[in-house]
């Protein structure tokens, strides 16, 4: 009984250990992904990462568990059986045990093929996951285009491929077991034959014989178990390598934090000879861009499709490496490190929404708001604290909500600030999503606020209102407004026009109109279009 109790503790803590290891590996994987640079993350397939973080970790975990338990049980038992057999009859034991090492030899020989097969299998599972994720996230489009059935055919092909590798792996892993037993049991012929003779000769009693036979058989069976554990490892090492592959990606400093001598100690944003290319892109997205922005300024940046607007917005976020210089308050943006988010907010064109409540989606848990907001669910009232770093989270929140003109929307939600949004934003329209992303960017006291196409899903009236809010609330902040619609640009202090990655025009809105360059032509084109739209009425 006591033995069983001890055994329970052994089993329980072994499992606890494995479970812990699993959780830690997963947490470690996430940590690593979080510390990696955006440029390297964009190369990853999320479905694949999910497969590695769940499936492969489980694979390794269960192997560790079976190994530890089996190593303990099998090796110890095998050895004790062996010693006991030796004690009974050394000669016979040694003779009969000759085939046992061969079982291990076979097991070792299977290392390579098992590794390869198992890796193929895991890869196939990853592919299934990647395909499935694309299918689910793009379902509306697949249906609209009538592509669902052909996509499912592809899925079935992937399933068939995975089936093949899975069967081969399992066969090799589990199927060879009996052969190990057989190899290990070859010696039994000597045991029964010789042992039988001993009994007849009176050297052994029948009891000796049956005991010896039982022990020898048990030893042989354990050989099988142990050899199979070896094979499990060969398979799991493929999974382990897939995990390590992701853990091994080191994420160092994005680039040198050294500031251009001219920019040292300077206020505001100073950009000099800035060039950038997306990883694996042939060409630079932006080339040799220089400009300055002072606190309190709104800089409008525009240009044709593919002119590098989004690239410039991304670079100035400080999350990517670049050549040239970009400094904010005398510090290079890529070298801001952990402090970066305190300096820069970047609203990208994704308008990502977390499946959490409105409050989290704006404040992102960056600070703890008062219980008035989090528990009583009221929108905090606005105090006049533009960009004040001393202001409370409540004040920031109030300001951000007011700026994005979300007060009415939130009031109309059933659960106010605590209304849960969904990944795909069922509860909110596209425009509301965009304004939530805008409020998120405005929340806090970051000096540089980068807004990449913030008005695309917002109607013109709302756009005007929000622009006026930004103008009024800007304080010491710098706002970079990237847009293709120039309606809001009259409220900017400076306008940058990009074309094919280069800065082609730079000046105030009025100056650029007078220059009659690209800005003027875009502006007039938009006017012409508006004229055309309005034209019908005049012609009629």
């Amino acid at each position: 009984m006591l033995f069983q109790l001890a055994r329970y503790f052994k089993r329980y803590y072994m499992r606890l250990l494995t479970n812990r290891v699993n959780s830690d590996v997963r947490a470690g994987l996430l940590d690593n992904l979080f510390t990696r640079q955006l440029s390297s993350l964009s190369q990853e397939h999320i479905g694949d990462l999910m497969s590695r973080m769940i499936g492969d970790v489980d694979q390794v975990g269960s192997s560790i568990q079976s190994t530890i338990t089996e190593v303990w049980d099998s090796v110890l038992l095998m050895l004790s059986y062996f010693v006991a057999c030796l004690y009974y009859h050394p000669q016979l034991t040694l003779l009969a045990a000759i085939p046992i090492p061969f079982a291990f030899l076979i097991a070792e020989k299977l290392r390579r093929p098992l590794y390869t097969l198992s890796q193929k299998n895991r890869q196939a599972l990853s592919k299934i996951n990647v395909h499935l994720r694309h299918n689910v996230t793009g379902i509306a489009l697949l249906r609209l285009f009538g592509l669902e059935s052909s996509s499912r055919e592809r899925y079935d092909l992937l399933l068939r491929d995975q089936y093949k590798w899975q069967v081969l792996t399992t066969m090799l892993q589990g199927g060879v077991g009996p052969f190990y037993t057989f190899a290990a049991t070859l010696g039994i012929i000597i045991v029964v034959g010789r042992g039988g003779e001993y009994v007849v000769q009176g050297v052994w009693s029948i009891g000796d014989f049956t005991a010896y036979l039982a022990m020898f058989s048990a030893m042989a069976t354990r050989t099988n178990v142990w050899a199979r554990v070896m094979n499990t490892w060969h398979g799991a090492s493929a999974s382990w390598d897939r995990i390590c592959e992701k853990l091994a990606v080191v994420s160092g400093q994005i680039g040198s934090a050294e500031v251009h001598p001219d920019a040292a100690g300077a206020e505001g944003l100073k950009v000099g000879s800035l060039s950038f290319s997306y990883p694996f892109a042939n060409e630079e997205s932006i080339r040799d861009i220089s400009f300055t922005a002072h606190p309190g300024q709104i800089i409008g940046i525009t240009g044709p499709v593919g002119s590098g607007k989004s690239a410039l917005a991304a670079v100035l976020s400080g999350l990517y490496d670049y050549s040239g210089h970009a400094s904010l308050a005398g510090r290079e943006v890529r070298g801001l490190g952990a402090e970066r988010s305190a300096f820069i907010s970047w609203m990208d064109s994704q308008h990502f929404v977390f499946s959490d409540d409105v409050l989290f989606n704006i404040a992102l848990g960056r600070d703890s708001v008062s219980s008035l907001v989090s528990v009583q669910n009221t929108i905090p009232s606005q105090t006049d604290v533009p960009g004040d770093p001393e202001a409370t989270p409540d004040a920031w929140l109030a300001q951000a909500i007011a700026l994005a003109a979300l007060n009415q929307d939130i009031a109309s939600f059933d659960e106010g600030m605590q209304t849960r949004l969904m990944e795909r934003g069922v509860r909110v329209s596209g425009g509301q999503r965009q304004r939530i992303a805008l409020a998120r960017a405005w929340y806090g006291s970051s000096q540089l606020v980068i807004l990449d196409d913030p008005f695309s899903a917002i109607d013109i009236n709302m756009e005007r209102q929000i622009m006026a809010n930004i103008r009024a609330e800007i304080g010491d902040r710098i706002v970079l407004l990237f847009s293709h619609r120039l309606a809001a640009f009259s409220l900017t202090d400076r306008v940058l026009v990009l074309n094919k990655g280069c800065l082609t025009e730079y000046g105030s809105h009025d100056e650029l109109l007078q220059q009659r360059g690209l800005y003027w032509s875009i502006f007039t084109a938009q006017n012409v279009l508006r004229g055309e739209a309005a034209g019908g009425e005049d012609d009629g």
Binding site: R152, V426, F523, G536
Partner: protein, 593 residues
């Protein structure tokens, strides 16, 4: 095709369990030979495992008792042969079980994917991607051990127990009561464990789904996370999920660890009682067996407990599958979209007709009694603020949702029941947020439709002015693009999406804000392209600003899910209604410049 023929039979909602049963049935009937061989191997291996005990009795009783050496070696070879046969049969069992189990699993995955495709868009909208993925992958995987080992082992273990009981009965009939009592006790005990483990396995599945959902969501939003440096929040959320998971798997570990210990204790008690009863002298109930029989009986009793314990253990393992099946059942219980595809005749002279259409997302009413009539080749534009229901209306016209109330007809065809392969030839769609699929540029335009020739791909690309951009890519039309690094700007992706819509030369074009995200020059280019391809087509487009309207024959204004005004631009202006108001607002907005 003169009358509407249902292309697929109406599907009764098949439950998850019956999905599994029919998957099993299909695989088993399709692989009858393997099934028969497997059954034979199971039977034979029961026999082969019993044989050594009898062989042993022969050796002891015939040779040892009589002191004969002769024949011992022959019998020892025979013994080896049975060991070999046992192992060979064991291998056959493993191989065939694996094949059948994996086939069933593959079939289940495919069935789940099929079921997924029968669910309405509403399901996708309200269910997180990670949740759907976990149901289709890990939950199906969870039922793996049911097939790959579970059921077959249970069957073969049952056979073994039965075989051993018969042998034991033959050797020592009086012991049978003791053996049956032992079995009942094992059953009662393992049933308790089974229930507890099942309960926790359910929790484990839920936690795994939550982890899946988290990873999916937080990796999708990685840019936002990095921008606002909320990695610590992510970490602590993830830690919380991992902790919950850890708690539940540790609970299982506890039961898992107790179980064999309890079993072994039972076994020890049972063995002691059996031996006490069997030993020739000592107790009054002694059964007085021969030495050979005693050896065989003790061997068989030892063997008897192995499959019983294994059976009990398998029942615990199967609980994981049971929890998986429960999740599959939940998934299968999702109402299947009532979409009976009908091959309908296209009426070339008709346009788009919408009668009294209402639609709601859950409790949120999006469209209310919408009436619209767009004659063939007319260009209609729907204008309204964001959230007015324009995109929903378009998705309904495209046949994505079932209209809650009312009727839609495009060229005389109900788009909801139109077979997908026909839809693309009838309707071309440019969604608001175009998506790039993994593949070449050409494949992204063709969209896996092999009937589209390379020429038409290029023509479409030229029409939207993307040909030069594509040729400038490293491998032209064969350049690989996909999730993440596309090498195309967001505006170019929209142009690609436009090429995609016109490549199949559809009669109706649906454009959702076709020029949002485009600068004035590209916008003009796209409008020129739309003008060029729009000649003999009915066009339905959406805009949230009047400046997006071009060449529209009729304008329909939408507000709060209703069409509030319709007419030509002139008519609307003359009416001094919504349109005029919109125009005034927009003009004011733009004239600030």
């Amino acid at each position: 095709m003169d009358e509407a023929q249902p292309l697929n039979p109406p599907k009764g909602s098949q439950s998850g369990s019956s999905m599994i049963i029919s998957a099993v049935w299909q695989v088993l009937t399709a692989n009858l030979l393997i099934v028969l061989l497997l059954l034979a191997a199971i039977f034979a291996s029961v026999g082969a495992q019993l044989y050594p005990a009898f062989l042993m009795r022969r050796i002891i009783d015939e040779n040892f008792a009589k002191g004969l050496t002769e024949g011992v070696w022959r019998l020892s070879w025979l013994y080896l042969l049975t060991v070999f046969a046992t192992n060979l049969l064991q291998f056959t069992k493993v191989a065939f079980t694996t094949i059948l189990g994996q086939k069933i699993l593959m079939d289940m995955r495919a069935r789940m994917a099929k079921r997924l495709s029968e669910l309405s868009i509403a399901y996708f909208v309200r269910t997180p991607t990670g949740e759907i993925m976990s149901r289709l992958t890990t939950d199906v995987d969870a039922i793996n051990n049911l097939f790959s080992a579970g059921i077959i082992n249970v069957i073969s273990d049952l056979f073994r127990v039965f075989g051993l009981l018969v042998s034991l009965y033959a050797l020592a009939p009086h012991l049978i009561w003791l053996e049956l009592i032992a079995i009942v006790m094992v059953f009662i005990c393992s049933d308790f464990f089974r229930k507890e483990i099942f309960k926790w396995q359910r929790v484990v599945r839920l936690n795994i789904a939550a982890i899946y959902t988290f990873i999916q969501e937080w990796l999708t939003g990685i840019r936002t996370i990095k921008t606002y440096a909320i990695e610590p929040q992510g970490r602590s959320k993830f830690q919380g999920l991992l902790f919950d998971h850890l708690y539940s798997i540790n609970a299982i570990a506890r039961y898992d660890s107790w179980f064999p210990c309890v079993m072994q204790t039972l076994r020890a008690v049972f063995m002691a009682t059996a031996l006490w009863l069997c030993v020739p002298s000592g107790s009054p109930w002694s059964l007085g067996l021969s030495v050979g029989t005693l050896a065989a009986v003790s061997d068989l009793i030892g063997r008897l407990f192995a499959p019983i314990e294994a059976l009990a253990q398998e029942f615990q393992t199967i609980q994981q599958s049971m929890a998986g099946i429960a999740r599959i059942n939940e998934f299968a219980a999702e109402p299947v979209e009532d979409r009976v595809l009908q091959d309908q005749e296209i009426d070339n002279s008709a346009g788009i007709e919408i009668e009294d259409l209402s639609f709601a997302y859950g409790e949120r009413n999006v469209l209310q009694s919408v009436r619209l009539s767009i004659p063939k080749c007319e260009k209609a534009v729907i204008v309204g603020r964001s959230g007015a229901g324009k995109t929903t209306l378009m998705n309904l016209i495209a046949g994505l949702y079932h209209p809650g109330q009312g009727k839609i007809s495009i060229c005389g065809v109900d788009p909801f029941t139109l077979p997908p392969e026909k839809r693309r030839k009838l309707i071309g769609i440019v969604p608001q947020m175009p998506q790039i699929f993994d593949g070449t540029v050409a494949e992204n335009i063709r969209l896996m439709d092999d009937n589209v020739s390379r020429d038409s791909v290029e023509t479409a690309a030229k029409t939207v002015g993307m040909h030069e951009t594509i040729m400038a890519l490293s491998e032209g039309y064969e350049t690989q693009i996909g999730e993440g690094a596309t090498g195309l700007s967001s505006g170019e992706v929209q142009l690609l999406s436009l090429a995609r819509a016109i490549v199949a030369d559809p009669m109706v074009l649906l454009l959702d804000e076709p020029t949002s995200g485009m600068d004035a020059k590209t916008e003009q280019r796209v409008f020129a392209a739309i003008r060029a391809i729009g000649e003999n087509r009915t066009i339905f487009s959406i805009s949230h600003r009047l400046s997006g309207i071009i060449d529209a024959d009729t304008i329909h204004l939408m507000a709060e899910g209703r069409v509030v005004e319709s007419g030509t631009a002139d008519e609307l202006i003359a009416r001094d209604g919504w349109y005029a108001m919109y125009q005034k607002m927009e003009r004011a907005g733009w004239l600030i410049e």
